[in-house]
Amino acid sequence: MQESAALRRKIWKHRGDYLFIAPGYIVFIAFMLVPLLFAIGLSFYKASFNLSAREFVGFLQYRRLFQDSVFLKALVNTVTYTLVIVPATIAVSLFIALSIDPLNTRVQAFFRAAFYLPTVAGGVVLSIVWLWILNPTYGLLNYFLGWFGVEPVSWIATTPHSFWAVCLVVLTFTIGEPIILFLAGLAAISRELLESAVLEGASNFQITLRIRLPLIRPVMLFILATQTIRVFQLWEVIFMLTQGGPSNSSTSLVFLIYQTAFIAARYGKASAIGVVLLLIIFVVTLLQMRLWKESDL
């Protein structure tokens, strides 16, 4: 009783401080928390364009989802996209960062900018040109592959090529940020440490394996977390290139949310898909947090 009174007095004493975080918290509650709770609530309803005619159906949307072949395909695809794109992004960007780290600052800045440009252009703009590059008859990619004797591939219109086409295009703009992060991580490694390793006769490869990689592990975990979340939300390239096709072979959860909510106006079902996505991201993030803790970040 006395404690709670003391706490109340303490809170009252700090009332001015709460005013500083109030605008932030009001915005968060209004535009994030309330919509989130509303979406969770909506997932228990059958709701269409006329929202007042919604009908409570309990867990029906969820039960139906796990019998819905399109949803299951989107779920499997989303996980596969992540398992393909995230490791590829980390491997490619790490290789590039390690290779340009020893160069002088100006050259480094040039390469950094060059690899970051596609990220700046964004998925929508890149998809427009990739649609042309991937064209089966007059596209650049098939032309180049033709040099190596590869028969023309119908990238967008056949399975499983459309899936790999999406992966390829996404990869061109996911590596920009990790390169910058890896370079910053590498630059933070103390020069003396590296020099003393050289003096003791360690080869460049050994230094990279034993010193550089362990020291940039926190950066790598950060990249792993942010990229995973980003690829889980992949949709714009799918929208621009394949529209999820052919026969849903390249669809993703977020593309399905878009179709279900904003094309078909089935808000209850779309919210249920959203909640499933939310739970997956939540679990994956928790698992990664454990990794973070182990490397005391």
Partner: protein, 282 residues
């Protein structure tokens, strides 16, 4: 041997840099090619008979491209303004003040960074529709800015940066009789400028590319933002057939990315700062 490996690696990196930029070059050069050229093999790496026809069609077509640019700029600036306002105050509150529950309140806020935005878009869309926000121009801009305004990353960034502001400075102002808000506004805010600049650039880019939300909200061609508009042009069949007007698409794509790339080249330093902040110690 070592030198050879070094040269090979550099060669490989240059080749990779080329291949990553090639699509952008291909788009730019394609915007000066005739439709017959864009559909012929072998491809022309330098347009031999460059044409301005695609650009002419882009600017005279039945779509208001400059209006889209204006919309994109207006929405992004509005978003940046609101994010800076909210994030700087909240981040400063968490960074420079200790009050009961400050830790837990901050952590709650931080976890929202991992929420998939698309889940919130459905309720927000229904809200915007019910309120009829999109019936006025400013309402449309505000609605387009909405989902990005709560920026947990921004709060985090400002809070981290507050460490660089010495407490003695704030205490000295307190002794001189400055109000708490005055301290934030007159002393902290100017010192936070580098962090706020990085946050502004980050938010501007994020808002510019907020494709799904803008597309869902804009029902009228006049309300499109740049990505929505150019994707509309690129997906519209041309010449009365089911053929894409490739040259026009490329001109549209080039036009659309131009602003962001210029913006990036101007403020590259802040882009890098915004990306690395908080992720890399030291």
């Amino acid at each position: 041997m070592r030198l050879l490996v070094r040269i090979l690696t550099i060669g490989l990196i240059i080749a990779m840099a080329f291949s990553f930029i090639l699509p952008l070059y291909w788009m730019l050069s394609g915007s000066f090619k005739l439709q017959t050229v864009t559909m012929s093999l072998p491809p022309e790496f330098f347009p031999e008979n460059p044409t301005l026809g695609n650009w002419e069609r882009l600017f005279t077509g039945p779509w208001p491209v400059w209006r889209w640019v204006l919309n994109s700029i207006a929405v992004s600036l509005l978003t940046v303004f609101l994010v800076l306002l909210v994030a700087s105050m909240t981040g400063y509150g968490f960074g420079k003040k200790k009050f009961p529950g400050s830790n837990i309140l901050f952590i709650i806020l931080l976890t929202t960074m991992f929420l998939p935005n698309q889940v919130m878009l459905i309720p927000l869309f229904l809200l915007v529709r019910t309120m009829g926000l999109t019936s006025t121009l400013f309402g449309t801009y505000f609605a387009m800015a909405l989902p990005i305004i709560p920026s947990p990353f921004g709060v985090f960034l400002v809070k981290q940066f507050c460490i660089t502001i010495p407490d003695e400075l704030l205490d000295a102002a307190r002794i001189d009789g400055a109000s708490e808000f005055g301290i934030y506004y007159r002393i902290a805010l100017p010192l936070l400028r580098p962090a706020l600049a990085a946050l502004a650039i980050f938010t501007f880019n994020q808002s510019w590319n907020n494709f799904m939300w803008h597309m869902v909200l804009a029902t009228d061609k006049f309300d499109y933002t740049i990505p929505v508009g150019i994707s509309y042009i690129a997906r519209t069949p041309a010449f009365g057939k089911m053929v894409t007007d490739i040259g026009l698409s490329m001109a549209g794509g080039t036009f659309g990315e131009l602003f962001m790339i210029i913006f990036f080249l101007m403020f590259q330093r802040y882009f890098v700062k915004g990306i690395t902040f908080g992720a890399v110690k030291g």
